[in-house]
């Protein structure tokens, strides 16, 4: 196009002031490299990147806002934190004292921010081109803001996976990740006698940590016919821990909190053992914390052998999104030696430094999907879904927030405050929905509300997927990943609101599209714009 016609073209164009045109994201702050998560992988990444001369900010949401812990975010705390978590200053001191690598990060010149969560990642692309740059949404619980970055390494770790049984909504039923954090990072785990559901490395490691901390582990309960970490379980058995394989918690006992567990043999429904305990820990297999990868648009793949859905990464942790890397448990949970995560962090930091030096997205080499081994059978998640189904009662809520039972889920029933007795509705079930297309967990969520609650689906997402797969015979890998939505931490309106919004947004806000003729009643003639609109 010549310069003259370019000018003519521009002059003939209009401008839609209520669209995103003319707007631009103005982050409050800007860093060269943002590292999210100060576990072993994130700390190692931040320290290595600082050593390589990058300006690094390392953010970690711990110590958590106690209000969020009460909502089971980001882990399933089950009300088993002591009152100490309410003092965030002393919690911060404790977290720093318990983790020498944080001190190393400070010394290396890393800008370490504790108590800051990342709830969103944005980058310019169709639909949100206007943002113009890569940025992360941050929050300290009282306020939220954007932080621009050139590259990011996510080391967001792992997350608890729920397993429903009667009574699992009682205080005292909690996740293994939550238990581990309260024990090791917070020194604020309220519980004396533990029963652990699951017998893999996660379960036996937790049992060991609990016993070292002077807690009693009464039993390990495993749905499979044999303990998964057999060596670990044998050691625990030798020191008096009951190992119950081929079993499931039939019911958590207690009125205001867990006082015991009734255990049933899955082969013999008549058999029943009662084990006194004040805490039941779900350690049946954690999930990589991939929310931010999904929100950033990175390709996610299903790899059951490393925890389920994970971002597609290459050996350096490079994702399909330019300048976005991952390291540690969030890209796959492996039974590696403890320093493996740190090594991943270092590799990602070096790759990020190289990518930043190259300076262009155009050279980004996306990882490619390699041939995967077929789905392992039976997948542990399906095994637990089967065990959960065996003990489920009508008021056992798979989704605690929205009180959705397994029957509600498989019957695709609307919530209780709506009519559920219309004959047509009663005739519908998961099978009839599946018959119309593929199984889609988000569709089931919209109809049943399973996963729509305040904990943002953290306790039910994986078990709902497993229940759908188990009930229909569809492979877990064939159920598309249910979407993650920002903000990935539930934030109060007052904290989330943009209180210093751009003048362009303030002046040109419209409820809808600002098309005047759209709202002129049909009986009134359109006037001024008629010619423009082709009349």
């Amino acid at each position: 196009m010549t310069r003259a016609t370019e000018q003519d073209d521009a002059l003939s164009r209009g401008f839609d002031p209520v669209s995103t045109n003319g707007k631009r994201l103005t982050p409050r702050e800007r860093v060269e490299l943002l590292v999210v998560g100060a576990g072993p992988a994130g700390c190692a990444a931040a320290i290595e990147a600082a050593r390589l001369g990058l300006k690094v900010a390392l953010v970690d949401e711990h110590p958590l806002d106690p209000a969020l812990m009460g909502l089971e975010v980001p882990f399933h705390f089950g009300g088993r934190m002591t009152g100490a978590v309410r003092n965030r200053n002393s919690m911060t001191e404790g977290i720093v004292a318990n983790d020498p690598t944080l001190g190393e990060a400070f010394d290396a010149g890393v800008d370490v921010r504790l108590g800051v969560a990342v709830w969103c990642l944005v980058a310019p692309r169709p639909g949100v081109s206007w943002v113009g740059q890569r940025a992360a949404g941050l929050s300290d619980g009282d306020d939220s803001w954007f932080c621009g970055f050139d590259a990011a390494i996510l080391a967001t770790g792992r997350r608890d996976v729920g397993v429903a049984f009667p009574g699992w909504s009682l205080p005292g039923v909690m996740g293994a990740t939550a238990a581990y954090h309260l024990l090791r990072r917070y020194d604020a785990l309220d519980g004396r006698t533990f029963l652990i559901l699951g017998s893999g490395a996660e379960a036996t490691a937790l049992a060991g940590a609990l016993r070292s901390a002077g807690r009693m582990v009464a039993a390990i309960v495993e749905a499979a016919h044999e303990a998964i970490d057999s060596a670990g379980c044998a050691r625990l058995a030798a020191s008096g821990v009951k190992i119950l394989a081929g079993a499931m918690v039939r019911r958590a006992l207690g009125r205001d909190g867990v006082e015991g567990a009734s255990i049933v043999s899955l082969d013999d429904p008549q058999s029943e053992t009662t084990i006194p305990c004040d805490t039941i820990v779900l350690a049946t297999g954690a999930a990589p914390a991939i929310e931010l990868f999904d929100i950033a648009g990175a390709v996610i793949v299903f790899r059951p052998e490393i925890g389920g859905h994970v971002p597609l990464v290459d050996a350096d942790g490079r994702t399909t999104e330019p300048m976005l890397f991952g390291a540690g448990d969030c890209i796959g949970i492996r039974a590696d030696p403890p320093d493996a995560a740190a090594a991943e962090g270092v590799r990602a930091a070096r790759a990020a430094a190289t990518a930043l030096a190259a300076g262009s997205d155009a050279t980004w080499t996306k990882p490619v999907i390699e041939a995967q081994p077929g789905e392992q059978a039976p997948s542990p998640r399906l095994l637990w879904a089967r065990a959960a189904r065996a003990v489920a009662e009508a008021d056992t809520h798979v989704c605690q927030c929205e009180e959705v039972s397994l029957d509600d889920l498989l019957g695709v029933r609307p919530p209780r405050y709506l009519r559920r007795d219309q004959p047509a509705q009663r005739a519908r079930d998961l099978a009839s929905l599946a018959n119309e297309g593929r199984i889609n967990q988000d569709q089931v969520k919209r109809l049943t509300r399973a996963g729509m609650g305040l904990c943002q689906g953290r306790r039910c997402r994986e078990q709902v997927g497993a229940a759908l797969a188990e009930a229909t015979g569809v492979a877990l890998s064939a159920i598309p990943l249910p979407s993650y939505r920002a903000p990935v931490r539930p934030l109060p309106l007052a904290a989330f609101a943009d209180e210093s919004e751009q003048q362009e947004i303030l002046e040109h806000w419209d409820t809808w599209f600002g098309i005047e003729s759209q709202w002129i009643p049909f009986w009134e003639p359109l006037s001024a714009a008629d010619e423009e609109n082709g009349r």
Binding site: G14, Y417, S483, A497, D498
Partner: protein, 393 residues
Amino acid sequence: LSDVTARKGASVIVVGAGVTGLSAAWWLARSGVDVLVIDKGVVGWEASGRNGGGCTHHQSPLFAEEQRLWPMMDELLGYSTEFQPRRLRIALTDEQLETMKRGVDNTCAQGFPAEWLDAAQVREMSPLSGDNVGGAYFACGGHANPQRTVQAYAWAVRDLGGRILQNVAATGFTLAGGKVRAVETEAGHYACEQVVVAAGPQTGVLSAMLGAEVPIAPARAEMIVTEPLPLMPMGGIDGNGLYGRQTLRGNLAYGGGPHEWLPADGTGSEALKPSSPIARNIAKRLAELFPKAAHARVIRTWAGIIENTPDGRPVIDRLPSVDNATAATMSSVGFGLSPASGRAIAEIVIEGRCSFADLSTFRLSRFGNLAPGWRERKGWLPPERATPRVQAA
């Protein structure tokens, strides 16, 4: 899928399982017509299932029918739509007040009850509210759950013997003798006697394959939702530059603010619905509208793609280029009007005309003199193609 694919073709094929196409199919099936709905994805997956759920459109010639039908929809469909009657639109500034009063006048002019409330009356009806300058109260209209409603239509279509083919994209049409003979899809050809194109943002591309231009421009808009709060006396409350509702569960679900225009093609991708910072601007206005809900936590945000015609009004019309095709786009305001729009489409397919409303403003011929480049002239362009606003010289 087996029972759908086994019988190919139908008397009428509707392309698009959004709320407009599904309602049209339902009304056709109610009239005994053999109907098949084809969609590239899951029913109601796009804007039809992710909007504000409002059912109070006094500007539309379909308003009276919208009002007549909504209170009956749960019974007619056989499934709950979560429909709740009444609307209140709250003004926080005098400027907002002026635009809202027009809605009261237009509603009353059509014989439906609406009135202006003062600030105290507003607070009584909307206990989460604080300071305001009044509100437009409609003792008509209402709101429903979009996700539940689209599935209700889909199930009701099947209950009447209609068929729905999901996850199959229409790729073209077989034309002969000035008629559509079949819809071509990824899964083969489906013969038909008539076709309805109700494919949202894809309506323009598909109509072009039938030789007609339906001018539309797609854009992205977003909403936020909070944790559940105690139910207010009525859920259909919005204002302060936002649209939305309190759901029957108690969540506040609201949207508004800047939309981003998209290229005409490739508008069906989930990749076009990323989270964006606009959610925080919506949150700010929601906390102003409901100051007593400022503590409520935002638990999700989402976006949808909607299309608009040059004048923002629907097109429901036979295409001039072939004898047996009808196009329908509701120009970004389709959910609430769907019970009525589907009935209108069904009548146009069966009878050639709508018996219960004057749809002359929906005719495609109004764009007969539309010159190419209309999107550029309006500035309805993605940011990368938009002209920077001219600085005052």
